[in-house]
Amino acid sequence: MINDRRPPAAEHADAYRTSEPTRQRDPFAAPALQVALASETERRAKHQRSGRIGRLVDLFISAPRVGLASAALSLAVLLATLPTGGVLRMGDGGESALQAPLSVASTPAAGAASPEGSTEAPSADEKVADPFEAAEPLDEAGGLPWLTIVGGAGILFSLLLMERTRRRRRA
């Protein structure tokens, strides 16, 4: 100890401040940093030249993790419900045409499906739609179409979230 007088504690801070080293080097003068920045700039330019796919990749890379997770979950829900399809109940008895779009829409017979109330005899075409009958019990349980809707809405919400984040970062 140099002397016995009581130092005011601010002196500790002053002494620390004056004895702390200061930055001597300019980091931007370091060749390693210059090379790294140049290569990153080149990578970015290449990426921008890659067009739509590049922008899509950019969107996913810079997307918030929550948005990505939400989109993945929604997509999983949607894919789990779509192949089996479902019938959306619009009211007491009415049924909409919101049915398994993937398989129905791709079937030529689907376009010719008879509207409700048709009195025609069942044709062979209706057998194509048999798989939907298997889905009916689920539909009646009230789960399937709502899962589809939730999945779709989830994807929309996730995309909106990603876009909003992208715009906010660009603002």
Binding site: M1, I2, N3, D4, R6, P7, P8, A9, A10, E11, H12, A13, D14, A15, Y16, R17, T18, S19, E20, P21, T22, R23, Q24, R25, P27, F28, A30, A32, L33, A36, L37, A38, E40, T41, R44, A45, D58, S62, R168, R169, A171
Partner: protein, 213 residues
């Protein structure tokens, strides 16, 4: 020194240019924060060379992540990147220990991580004053080593660097209330530690209170 939350028009313009690949704009964007980031890294690595490396790595990481940053608190964002680089370097160093080159043993009670530099030119004109300052700085460094990093950081930013609560909140990415709490608790711990380092002295109620009282 840039103050407060939100970024100036000039900084936003530089950010946009840097995102387009303008390295000059990138340099201008973070040059005002280099000293602060370097000091923060130094306080983690304990040696200037380590702080230099951390600053360089932090700049590279920041450049790569420019597209993802939200332009609200660029200074805090950049400082935290450099701090993380310094912590990573420290972890790597601990996994692969090397023999440190010491300029002198810590006779002032500071270990090698908490060591501060040799007294500088201003104090060198008075050897007694220089030695006394060195001793005080060493005491504070040794005491700071024993308190948690977030409290140490808050105290150093407030009492040594002179930032206000709002700026420290911006730099560290936490609320003003948290900053106040960390400073208050850290000072309480420092008081006890400094008294232990100087038995016979009474620092109660004095430790690092110069700015508030």
């Amino acid at each position: 020194m840039l103050k407060g939350a939100g970024e100036s028009e000039e900084r936003l313009r530089l950010l946009a240019a840097a995102r387009r690949g303008d390295s000059g704009a990138f340099r201008a964007l973070f040059t005002p924060d280099l000293d602060l980031a370097w000091r923060m890294a130094l306080r983690i690595t304990g040696e200037p060379a380590g702080a230099d490396d951390a600053l360089q790595e932090g700049l590279i990481s920041a450049y790569r992540a420019l597209d993802r940053v939200e332009p609200r608190n660029l200074r805090g964002w950049f400082v935290r990147i450099v701090q993380n680089a310094a912590r990573d370097a420290l972890r790597r160093e601990r996994r692969r220990p090397t023999l440190p080159i010491r300029s002198g043993e810590g006779s002032d009670g500071s270990d090698e991580r908490g060591a501060v530099a040799e007294p500088q030119a201003g104090a060198a004109s008075d050897p007694v004053l220089a030695a006394e300052r060195g001793e005080l700085a060493g005491e504070l460094a040794a005491a700071l080593e024993q308190i948690p990093e977030e409290r140490r950081t808050a105290i150093l930013l407030y009492d040594v660097d002179g930032y206000d609560y709002a700026e420290i909140a911006e730099i560290t990415g936490c609320s003003v209330g948290t900053v106040k709490s960390r400073i208050s608790r850290g000072r309480g711990e420092l008081r006890g530690l400094l008294v232990d380092l100087r038995p016979g002295t009474n620092l109660e109620g004095q430790a690092l209170r110069g700015r508030d009282d």
